[in-house]
Amino acid sequence: MSAGPRKLHRFHGGLQLDDHKSISNTLPVKAAGIPAQLILPLSQHIGAMAVPSVRTGERVLKGQRIASCDGYVSAPVHAPTSGTVVAISDRPIPHPSGLSAPCISIDTDGKDEWIEHQGHEDYASLDASELRNLIREAGIVGLGGAGFPTYIKLNPGARQINTLLLNGAECEPYITCDDMLMRERADEIISGMRIMQHALQARECVIGVEDNKVEAFAALRNAIGTAQDIELVRVPTRYPAGGEKQLIYTLTGKQVPSHGLPLDIGMVCHNVGTAAAVYRAIVKGEPLLSRIVTLTGSGIPQPRNLEVLLGTPIKDLLAQVHGDTNKSGKLIMGGPMMGFEILHAEAPVIKTTNCLLAWHPRDVEEPPAALPCIRCGECAEVCPVLLLPQQLYWHAQAREFDNVQDYHLFDCIECGCCSYVCPSHIPLVQYYRFAKTEIWQQERDKEKSDAARQRHEVRLERLEREKREKKERHARKAASLQKKGTDSDTEKADPKKAAIMAALERVQKKKQQAPVEPQNIEHLTEAQQREIDDINARRASAHKQDEEPS
């Protein structure tokens, strides 16, 4: 495509920030090595938590799948090295809440023994669906920070993809992991991009790199060589140029619709790190086991980038760069604008950990107290999404969650520009995050109460039905009894009753008959005869007494 230099578009707002990148990008990427224990959270991505497919005590090999997808939007987890599964339990994870979540812990054996794996040198012979499946099985998610499963973004469905964009802007200060990756592994990035292009059948490929990354740009230029269908573009360094929607606008002048996806305008945007991971997964058959992490900030004496096995505890990494794990310092995952504080240094590095920013205790200062909003409008000036941060703030503060949504809260990318410029030091982004999670909670509550209502109604229905059935049963039984009763009156007498009647009759008959004459009364002596007469007389008198009323 030699239509001359691409016309660039300027997105609204944004900030010129000191990039502080030279602190950490002077040393080459070094492998961080194998720690004694790896802690692999089951949820390192957006979507459903993976389901463990190994048991405690099981030996696992490097690259072996230890947890598999649960549903469409999900990603599997692999063992980053060989070892033994020692626990599947809740451990602290890198998350702003500081809460624990289910993790698989592996005691490493240091042998780093691979499971049998095979790559596909000739990826062009595979169709898009096969490529997507391989990428899904490799557990690749967006490595820029959001962690959305990559294979879904490679599935455009019926839509035609015109442009595949690679995001090498890395606009947030301090972070240099993509910069170092582009410098050192430009070939892998370009090969990964080719695979993605093949899967998407995209017509053109564009790589956007901020113009402060001269060496990375040169390395990519070198890797692209004379290829005509990949365009490498320098974009002006202005935060947040690396936001997906901002980069698309800068490079193409097209806006991704609100609540929409780049897919809706025929584009797909991936991070450069994701492209390199795709290359490794397809060509080498290696799942996502490690990533480059920037360790920087005033709390780290030797800031640099490390290639880190997923699941490596953060405190182990800090020790490698002689960092201060002292609690008094502040540890942030991500950059200074969008990152969040990590409360437990035992938490592991996960797929989305691009940077660990450690502040020396002397540089940690409490944020100044928020003052009332003076309606200066600075926040709206810098908002790259053209929102009205003030309105969002008022409504979020008043917990008017319908109104915040009317002001497009969910288009906010939480870039932090508004909070940065606010002269009253209002933590605006925190208000938006608060409002977002409150709204999600309300939605969950609504779902739950709808389910409870349905269950209650079904129960009432069931009780009603049971009552009705019982009534019917009783009615039927009563009817059948009634029928039996009428039967006995007319024809066959009840056999029991008849038997009793017959017995009574027999007794009556016997009573009426004369007393039985004794059989052996011949040849009696006189004394005997007299005795018998006496007895008879007594019996007669006794009978007489019996008959008299007492």
Partner: protein, 181 residues
């Protein structure tokens, strides 16, 4: 003159037929206000409002028999929503009906102690307890609304209230200035 009267009569007849048909065709089965009120209630079915479930309470509110501040599980948010819907003034929660729980709870059955009497099953308004006569019972925690109605009937006191543990997926950012310290 006659034409005019006839025309008007015909028009009246046609409209009458259309309206009559519409009244039958689009008949609203239940009172829409009751549905709207019911949609705002938390569906705990706990009966703390003195009505046997959320819908009867909604009906009572719609009839004007009940106040809007009798639902402790809904708390202030529900009272506010009801006030907005019905154009009434929000009231503080009536303490006669109970207090707002600080944390969501569910119940669990101590299966070692359960004698299988089925009394709790009969008490559960949402069929969230599974079991049979002389068989162990257990609660489906996802379906439990935390109404605690199963606790009083249990003859062996083997049902306990436990708080719902916060998970990463359901964690909420605190409002600025309200962070728990």
């Amino acid at each position: 003159m006659l034409t005019a009267i006839l025309t008007l009569l015909v028009i009246a007849a046609v409209f009458g037929l259309v309206l009559g048909y519409a009244a039958i065709r689009f008949k609203v089965e239940s009172d829409p206000v009751v549905d709207k009120i019911d949609a705002l209630l938390p569906q705990t079915q706990c009966g703390q409002c003195t009505y046997p479930g959320c819908r009867p309470y909604a009906e009572a509110i719609a009839r004007g028999e009940a106040e809007i501040n009798q639902c402790p599980p809904g708390g202030e948010a529900t009272i506010q929503a009801l006030a907005d819907l019905l154009g009434r003034d929000p009231l503080p929660l009536n303490p006669e009906h109970g207090e707002v729980k600080k944390q969501k709870t569910v119940v669990i059955i101590d299966e070692q102690l359960c004698i299988g009497c089925t009394l709790c099953i009969q008490a559960c308004p949402v069929d969230a307890i599974v079991g049979a006569a002389k068989q162990m019972h257990t609660v489906i925690p996802e379906e439990c609304t935390g109404c605690d109605l199963c606790i009083p009937p249990c003859p062996v006191d083997c049902i306990y209230v436990v708080p719902v543990e916060e998970t990463v997926a359901e964690w909420k950012w605190p409002a600025p200035g309200e962070e728990s310290t």
